[in-house]
Symmetry: C2
Amino acid sequence: MEDDIRATLAQLEAARTLIVICHYDPDGDAIGTMLGLTWALRGMGKRVTPACRDGAPWPLDFLPGSAEVVTDLAGLEADTVVVVDCSDARRGGKLYKQAVELGVPIINIDHHVTNTRFGAVNLVRPDRVAAAEVVFELLGRMGFDFDLNTATCLLTGLVTDTRSFKTPNVDQRVLRAAITLMDIGVSLPEVVQMAMERKQFHDLAILGRALGDVRFEDGVAWSALSLEAWRATDGGAMSAAPRNFSTLLNSVEEAAVGVFFTEMANRRIDISMRSKPPVNLTVLFAEGAPLHGQGGGHPQASGAEIDGPLEAAISRLVPALKALVSAQT
Amino acid sequence: MEDDIRATLAQLEAARTLIVICHYDPDGDAIGTMLGLTWALRGMGKRVTPACRDGAPWPLDFLPGSAEVVTDLAGLEADTVVVVDCSDARRGGKLYKQAVELGVPIINIDHHVTNTRFGAVNLVRPDRVAAAEVVFELLGRMGFDFDLNTATCLLTGLVTDTRSFKTPNVDQRVLRAAITLMDIGVSLPEVVQMAMERKQFHDLAILGRALGDVRFEDGVAWSALSLEAWRATDGGAMSAAPRNFSTLLNSVEEAAVGVFFTEMANRRIDISMRSKPPVNLTVLFAEGAPLHGQGGGHPQASGAEIDGPLEAAISRLVPALKALVSAQT
C-alpha cells in the first residue's frame, strides 16, 4: 500500500497537464472526488480538465467546477490521466477508451474492493469509505493546503457515499476527515441540503407508484413498477432509483428478502433482489433453479432479467423466494 | 447560562434518589437523553428511575435500560426530578403532574427555543442540537468518566435528533461530541441501524398509499391518505409518520408549499402544511382567510383541522394555496 501511495504521489507530482475522469451515471463521490482533485492539482499550478461521460448532473451541479466538466476528450492533450472511483475501466465509458489512445500514464484511484487495478499506477483503498477519502488522505500526504473548492467537493464525496455517515464502515476517522474539511470553511448542512436533501417531484411520484401496492408475505417484501405506472407520473427519465427500491423493501425488519420488479420499455422484467443473511440468493441461479441463466450476483444482492408480462413474472418468482426463505431460515 | 449550569450541577450533585422523565410520544433524543442521564447518575452512586408515559417504544427498545422505564410514578419516592427534552411541562403528561405532587425540586434540561422554564432549575440550551448534547456537556463538566451504556444512549439522542448529522445546526462541535462517545466504544453504525434504519412493513405500506397519488401544480405539492387507504394497509396503528409527509412534499425542489391531508377516524381532515420562504402560511388563518379559526402555526409550518369529506377539503384548500404562492413569490 505504501508503495502504491508513493508511486501515485510521484506520478502526480511529475504531471503538468492532467485529465481527471470519473465513472458514467456519476454519484456524489464520483463528481466530488473528480472535482476535488481537479481543484487541488490546479492549486499546485497544474492544468487540469475534469471529464465525465454524463457531465455533472443535478443535484451535483452546485459543486464548483461542475460547469467545466467535459463529456468528450477529443482534441484534449494531457501528460497524465487520473481515473477516480471506477472499479474497472469500463466504468469510464467512451472516455476511458479515449484516454488510452492518448498513450499517457493512467493513475487509478479508487476504494472498491472489486477494483481490477487497470492503471499504470493503482491506489486502491477498500478500507476507505469513499474515493474522496482516498484523495483527502493523498493530498494530506502532499502537504496540500486545502482551499474551499477542494474541501467542498471532497466533503460532498464523503457525505454522499456514506449516506450522511450512516454506512457500516463509518468510524471516528471518517468524522475527523469531515471536521478537517469543515474547518476550511465548508458548511456540512449546505452540502447535505444541496447534494442529498433536494428532491424532484418525479422522484416522489415514482416512489409513490413503486410502493403503491407493496406486499409482504412469508418473509418476502415485494413491489413493482409497471411501464404504464411509470409513464403516468410525468414521463421523466427513469432514474437509478428503482434499483434502490429492493434495498428499501429489504430494510423492512420482518423481511428476509426484498424484491422489486420493474417493467422495462421492451416489456422485459428487471428483477432486483436483496436479502438478509443467511438467505443466499445465488442458489436461484443454479442449474435447474428458477433464474438459471437469467442473472446473477451476490448472496445478499442479486439481479435478473426475465420475460414478462409483469404479473406472470411476479407470480413465478415470489413463490420461489418464499420457498427459499422457508428452506434457509 | 453559566449560572444555570452551576445551579443544575449543584442540584444534581446533592440528589440521592432521582426520577428522570422524558416526553410522551418519545423520540430517540427523549429516550436516549433520559436513559443516558439515568446511567450516568447511577455511575455516580445515585438511585435513578427513568420514566416515560409511553415507555421506550420500538425501535428505541434496544437501548440499555429501556426495559426499566416506568410509565407511572405511583409509589415512587425521590428527592429530585429531572425532566428532559420537554419544551413545556404538559409534554410530560400525567407523569409531570405526579412529579409535582412529590413536592421535590424539578430540574428542566432541554434544547427547545420555546422552553417555558417550568423547573425550579432550568438548563435550556437552544444552541445545542439535542437534549443529549446538553447532558453530554453537563456530564463533562462534572468530570464524569463515560461508560458504554451512557455513551450509547447519548449518541442515540445526538444521531436521531440531527437525522444522522443532516440538520442545519450541525457543526464541528457536534461531530466532536460523537467522536468522544464513539471513543468509549459505541458503534455509530449500530446505533444508526437500530434507531433509524429499521423499518416496519406498515410504515412502507403507509408511505406508498400516501404518495400513491401525489400531485404537483403551480408550486403546490400535495397528497392525501384516506381512512380507507390507511385501513387497507394492515390496520396497524397510525404512527406520527403522516405528519412528516408535508415535509417530504415540501422537499420537492419545484414546490413552494407541501401539504398533506389525512382523513381521521372521525372523518375530519387533518391538514399539515410546510412552505419555503418567502411563502407565509400564517395568512391562511387571518380573519376572512380560508382557515380562519381552524388552526395555526408558523410561517413555514402550520396545521389545521377542517370538515370533510376528503375530496372537498382538497378542492377547497389547494386553490387557496396556489393563490398564496402566486401572491407571495
